[in-house]
């Protein structure tokens, strides 16, 4: 017993010293690890905060120096959107009253990869075809109530657009859309119960594309319009069929191409058996959740639109996910042939396909949520 006590008594300072050394080392390690963990948040994955669009709708102060804004654009002014209704956050959806918004975080590493893919196609087609890139902002970046801008679950999409465009090489014709959509933010340019934009929103993007390409857009008033009521999309489902949304469904407004002779066929690829579809498909009797399928008969790996009213041999490829569906119909009157490739399902090489078909233009029409997705950018990489 005394021996035990004696040993304890004799080694106590030693143990204290060990404990002290370990404690100090542990603190040092913790500090080092904290630094390591903090590093990604400090790197370019987080958009710069000094570019945040002013929530009062006046736009960013340095817009005139912004490469995404052409010098002849006047300083834009935007309508305010007030915060009305109760708020609730679901998994990836934020609801305000009867309107859902996709939560968005910019991922710089994925944006760079996306740009690498677009750049690779542009490099392969240099001197042979024009490559356009249209990054589509989400409703959470455009029509979000002003009071919610700056909230942690909504990264600045104007800054994201600038970063993405900044990663494109000089052979890519980038078409910024953020300001153009923000200028119309109080119009019906995004669905409330679904994550997509409306055809009206897509029309404003089409106007910007025409400006970049140097062609005249068809006036929106020239189109024949169909409307399909009762659309309840993904936000409605993800908000557990919120009653406010259910009581006020969306309306799908579709603009028919001027040409009544243009046809659309779709399938898994150009060598597969193709099925005749419609550029604007009548969804008036479709289930409430499927009415966005009105545009180019929904998501198909491969679609081809032939317009016999255009006979100049013009052709283009649209590389898209579902946001592109509402955009494609507006191109119909400008090209003799349009190839629509949904890179999530299509197999092949965009560069090779473009050269085989001798197209003049390749359009990447991709939404910001897709451009932050490792999965979708991985799919795109597979078909570059």
């Amino acid at each position: 017993m005394s021996r035990y006590r004696g040993r304890r008594s004799g080694t106590s300072p030693l143990m204290l010293l060990i404990a002290l050394v370990v404690a100090v080392a542990a603190v040092v390690l913790i500090i080092i690890n904290l630094g390591k963990n903090k590093a990604p948040a400090d790197d370019a994955d987080t958009p710069p905060t000094d570019n945040v669009t002013e929530p009062d709708g006046t736009g960013d102060a340095d817009g005139a120096d912004d490469p995404a804004v052409t010098p002849d654009d006047p300083a834009p002014t935007y309508q305010k959107i007030e915060l009305k209704g109760d708020e609730q956050q679901y998994d990836a959806v934020y609801r305000v009253g009867d309107t859902g918004y996709e939560m968005y975080s910019y991922v710089d590493s994925t944006a760079k990869k996306y740009a690498d893919n677009v750049n690779a196609v542009a490099d392969a087609l240099a001197g042979k075809a024009n490559v356009y890139m249209l990054p589509i902002p989400l409703s959470s970046g455009v029509s979000l109530p002003d009071a919610l801008y700056g909230k942690a679950v909504f990264d600045d999409q104007k800054a994201a657009e600038e970063k993405i465009i900044g990663y494109m090489n000089s052979s890519v014709k980038s078409v910024p859309l953020y300001d153009a959509l923000l200028a119309h933010r109080t119009e019906y340019i995004y669905f409330r119960t679904d994550h997509h934009w409306t055809a009206t929103g897509a029309y404003y993007a089409y106007e910007q594309f025409c400006k970049a390409k140097g062609i005249t857009p068809t006036p929106i008033s020239s189109y024949t319009v169909d409307e399909y009521d009762g659309f309840l999309g993904t936000f409605y489902r993800d908000s557990n069929q919120n009653a406010a949304m259910g009581a006020n469904p969306d309306k799908v407004i579709a603009y028919h191409p001027l040409s009544t002779e243009a046809t659309l066929d779709y399938g898994d690829g150009e060598n597969a058996n193709l099925t005749r579809g419609k550029i604007i498909y009548d969804e008036s009797t479709a289930p409430a959740s499927l009415k966005y399928g009105a545009f180019i008969t929904g998501d198909n790996a491969y679609s081809i639109i032939n317009n016999p009213d255009v006979t100049d041999g013009s052709s283009c490829i649209v590389v898209k996910e579902s946001f592109g569906n509402a955009f494609v119909p507006f191109l119909t009157d400008h090209y003799q042939t349009i190839y629509v490739l949904d890179y999530r399902y299509w197999k092949g090489s965009i560069s090779r396909f473009a050269q085989d078909k001798g197209v003049q233009d390749v359009l990447f029409v991709n939404n910001l949520s897709a451009i932050r997705s490792t999965a979708l950018v991985g799919y795109l990489h597979d078909v570059v």
């Binding site: 030693l14 060990i18 050394v21 990869k113 998501d299 399902y345 490792t374 999965a375 979708l376 990489h381």
Partner: protein
């Protein structure tokens, strides 16, 4: 003086053990063999096609020195096998996080367009043990788990 030296050595030992902690006893796996085993013995909803290592590297950004093998579904199903042997436990944690992000992105996409696939992704096997990371999206996660655990024993 000897006691001081002993104390410092003891402290160093503690720190070394702490730095190496959490491993699976240095267990390594033959990534191709395990991937093949999963492909041959777990039911999948689609034919499985060998994934190019370059493609896996592109999608997952593994730390340097990681050996990868995998299979992807032929078509639009989300079935996949990814087996990775990292250089160390910390690398495996990094890769695990990358695979989780990839899986989450697939789930978000499936949620929008393929709700049935979202459920399968939710039930996928994602396992890290020591320096080994395995992802298996299949029709039978229990069968996949049993095979993987056999390799990790």
């Amino acid at each position: 003086m000897k006691k001081m030296l002993a104390a410092l050595l003891a402290a160093l030992m503690v720190l070394t053990l702490a730095a190496c902690g959490g491993g699976n006893g240095g267990k390594t796996v033959d990534v191709q063999k395990l991937a093949d085993d999963l492909k041959d013995n777990v039911p999948f909803s689609a034919a499985m096609i060998a994934a190019a290592v370059d493609d896996l590297n592109y999608k997952l950004d593994p730390p340097e020195g990681t050996a990868l093998a995998g299979y992807m579904a032929d078509g639009n199903a989300s079935d996949m096998i990814i087996v990775a042997q990292c250089a160390g436990d910390e690398d495996a944690k990094t890769l695990y996080a990358n695979v989780q992000t990839y899986l989450d992105d697939l789930k978000r996409e499936a949620n929008l367009y393929q709700p049935d696939e979202e459920a399968r992704l939710d039930g996928a096997l994602l396992r890290q043990s020591g320096a080994v990371v395995v992802l298996c999206v299949s029709d039978d996660t229990a069968a996949a788990t049993a095979i993987v655990e056999g390799y990790l024993k």
